[in-house]
Amino acid sequence: MTTDSRKFAKTLDEVKTYLGKKREESMEIDGTVIRAYCECIGDPNPMWKDTAPPGLVTTAMISSGAMLIGVPLLYKRSVAGGADWEFFKPIKKGDTIHTSHEFSELQEKASDKGPRLLMVYKSSHKNQKGELVAISTNTIMNY
C-alpha cells in the first residue's frame, strides 16, 4: 500500500513557527553500524575497522534525524537541494555521537515553475568527550 509519511502545513506562517526548533539524538558507533554503512555503499577499504568513514556522519544514520523535527511542508513535491559538511575529528568505533539538529532557515523563492521553499537544517555532531567531530547543513527544496 502506498503511504505518505509527510506532514503538511496550510500556510507559510505555520511553517515559520518551526524556525529554531531543535532535536537532539545520540548514537553509539559500534562495528555493526560501520559494517552496515560500508556494505551498503560498497566500501571495502580496510581503514574502516576501528575508524568510521566520514560518510557515516555526513550522509547516513546520524544526519537524517533532522527530519524528525517534524517541520511540515507547504507544497507537494520535496527533494534534497544540497548539503555541506565540515569534519574536525575522526569518529572511532566505540564513540557515542551526540547530534543537535536545528531548523535554522526558511527562504521563499519564485521560479518559472511556481513558488518554492528552501528549508535549511543545521546539525552539529559531538563525541562522548564533548569534542566537535563535524558540522553539517542540509537544504530541502519544497515546491
Partner: protein, 141 residues
C-alpha cells in the same frame, strides 16, 4: 592502494573514478542504515504521484559515494576536511553512476598541505547530476 602525496598532486589532474550501480536493494539497505524512509525512494506508485517514472536514488547515498571517492584517494594519511554538494538531477536504480573528481587547487595553509577538488556524480547521459567541491589535507614526502 598507494598513498598519494601532496608533492605529486597537480592542479587539473583527475582522481581515479568510482563506478556505482545502486539497485532497489541498495536503496532499501540505505533506508534501513540511514533512517530515511521517505516513500520517494522505495514506492514506485508514490514516486509517480510526484511526477517521477521510478523511485529515486537518495541524494545522500550519492554524497556517500562522493566521500568514498575522496577517502579512497586521500588514503590512510589524508584527511577529508570539507565537502559540499548540490542535488541538481535525479538518478534511478539500475543506472551506472560515475563518481568523479578533479584537483582544482593546491596550496599550504596553517602548516597543512591543502588540495581543493571539484567532485560530481555523472549519470549515463553524461550529465553532472550531483556537482560539488571538497577540501582535503594530504601528507608531504
Amino acid at each position: 592502494m598507494a598513498q598519494v602525496y601532496f608533492d605529486d598532486v597537480k592542479e587539473g589532474q583527475d582522481i581515479p573514478t568510482l563506478e556505482k550501480t545502486p539497485t532497489n536493494r541498495t536503496l532499501v539497505q540505505w533506508a534501513g542504515a540511514s533512517g530515511d524512509f521517505f516513500e520517494l525512494h522505495y514506492d514506485k506508485e508514490f514516486a509517480k504521484t510526484m511526477g517521477y517514472p521510478n523511485v529515486l536514488v537518495h541524494g545522500r547515498l550519492e554524497a556517500a559515494y562522493l566521500t568514498q571517492l575522496l577517502t579512497d584517494w586521500a588514503g590512510e594519511k589524508g584527511v577529508v576536511k570539507k565537502m559540499s554538494v548540490q542535488y541538481r538531477g535525479n538518478a534511478f536504480p539500475g543506472q551506472k553512476l560515475l563518481i568523479k573528481g578533479k584537483v582544482t587547487k593546491k596550496y599550504q595553509k596553517d602548516n597543512e598541505n591543502i588540495v581543493e577538488l571539484e567532485i560530481f556524480v555523472e549519470n549515463p547521459e553524461g550529465q553532472k547530476i550531483t556537482p560539488g567541491s571538497a577540501i582535503i589535507a594530504l601528507p608531504k614526502k
